[in-house]
Amino acid sequence: MDLRTLTYIVVGASFALYLGIAFWARAGSTSEFYVAGGGIHPVANGMATGADWMSAASFISMAGLIAYNGYGASLFLMGWTGGYVLLAMLLAPYLRKFGKFTVPEFIGDRYYSNTARVVAVVCLILASITYVIGQMKGVGVAFSRFLEVDYDTGLYIGMAMVFFYATLGGMKGITYTQIAQYVILIFAYTIPAMFISMNLTGNPLPQLGLGSTMADGSGMTLLAKLNLVVTELGFKEYTTSTIAGRFDMAVYTMSLMIGTAGLPHVIVRFFTVTKVADARSSAGWALVFIAILYTTAPAVGAMARLNLHATIQTGEVGSPEGNLAYENRPQWFKNWEKTGLLQFEDKNGDGRIQYYNDKNPEMVAKAESYGWKGNEMVKVDRDIIVLANPEIAKLPNWVIALVAAGGLAAALSTAAGLLLAISSAISHDLMKGIFMPNISDKFELNAGRVAMAVAIMCAGYLGLNPPGFAAGTVAIAFGLAGASIFPALMMGIFFKRMNKEGVIAGMIAGIAVTMLYVFQHKGIFFVKGTEFLGDLGPNWFLGIQPNAFGTIGAIVNFTVAMIVMKMTPECPPHIQDLVESIRTPRGAGAATGH
């Protein structure tokens, strides 16, 4: 059976499964719509959290980032997992005990202020919208490559899918579909990795293969071999090079960690379990399921990089026969050239492909002596690393079809979670909470569905007309959440005396500082030409790149909140009592909206 038919069957079957689950898990009340009725088992919730969390960025882009940045990309690995330790210990159990539907609702009640609640809604929407654009783009790309429909059509199909199961089932439908999506995406990710690890090192476990000796008889370890291959071509050493220095790496890691703990679509998943104790262990299970992919990704990145260079640099560097002749390029090379994600340009006209670092002066000198006239792989999109991996490793067609279904599962599951967070902020926090407090449960449920439909259309529109910054947006979403929501929640639980004035000023200051820093280097609302400082290392504050600035935003948030708190009336006693009751687990009922 040809690849295209097979891909249609596998992706079609996975979609039929999601629709079946959606029909079976329809939401009948607001409790089911917002928190799946509150009776999800901690392991099941952990699995759903894994799919909710692992987006197109984790599934498609992360291994590519690792392949090209080596050690420096560890910040994504540590940042996107270490946040769960903070979430499990500082937020999840206490927010579960509080027992309401949304994150802004906690902020509004804890800080006895509708203003605080509205500020939280604005922060939530800014962070979630930034994040959802990347998912819609992931859906479009996966469709256009694997199903050979165009990007726009792919996006419409994706929107229709999410629309159907998210509006029908709310959190309940999303939870059960996410469990199915986790299973699909984890198989799709680990199976090719195991084959490749087996081929290169003889060890089928990628986590061990990455630390093993090569199976080619050279006696070298895989990482030593990779260091040798990349440095010979003038690239930075794989196991030691950082992206923008060690200080930036630490700040960036912290930004991703606190962003992870502060993203509302992840936090609300912990409102769906029965008990406080379940919220704690469920965070552990979530990280187990996430760690399966996150400890495999470094192996996928390193092995793909090695395979890619081995394909192109077939012989010794510098020998006339050492490079792959263009006409002998493998089929996957041709497939990906069609998508424009891979581009070759024969600069020295020898009919062979030279792929090296022509930004490195030492290498340029050497390359000239070989008769090379610049790097000829003018485009190697890093997203290819995962998507083309099974083809590069010559795996059977069903594995390729599975990767397509896995990429779509990752993007759809995260998009659904984000859209639910956005729509519940609108229907529950703004409508029911502030503007129309007297609406019935039934009316609110339908309002939630309408808000969801509108959110999907907005996300789809932004996916069709990406504002030009879509690629770098995911990391910024973490910065925004980490600088605004995380500090507000943490102070709400750990600083009993924090008052509304302090937290409102803190959230506004934190998110404003982060956004201004991003705008100053990347343009106001990302419009090119409006940036007043170039996006270059020397212009960065302490060498911190804009994507990493959430940490500084969070520090500003905490500091401003503390200062304002000292200057304004004390937090009332009944709120301090509320904080004390949140801190003890006993008496956690099911989450309610009242």
Binding site: S74, G82, M89, L222, T240, T253, L287, A291, R583
Partner: protein, 84 residues
């Protein structure tokens, strides 16, 4: 806060602090700041600092959460604030 509530919260913070210290040491310490030094030591085919940054810290994060969940369960029961 009454006496027992205070003792419970002290016990909770007493558990959180060492866990956060370990959390910080394995990631920011071993994985980032001390990576160049640790890379001199090999763990199989992995330089140790690189291993902490791309594998080890993640395993330890998982262990920390389960350790926390278990210990918190014990603290809840000792202070009689556990559920059901």
């Amino acid at each position: 806060m009454d006496k027992s509530g205070e003792a419970y919260w002290r016990a909770t913070l007493g558990l959180l602090t060492p866990i956060l210290v370990v959390w910080f040491i394995v990631s920011f310490g071993f994985g980032i700041i001390l990576q160049p030094m640790l890379d001199g030591i090999m763990l199989g085919g992995y330089p140790l600092g690189f291993w902490f940054a791309q594998q080890g810290s993640i395993y330890i994060f998982v262990a920390l959460i389960f350790f926390y969940a278990k210990k918190m369960g014990q603290i809840d029961r000792e202070h009689d604030v556990h559920e059901d």
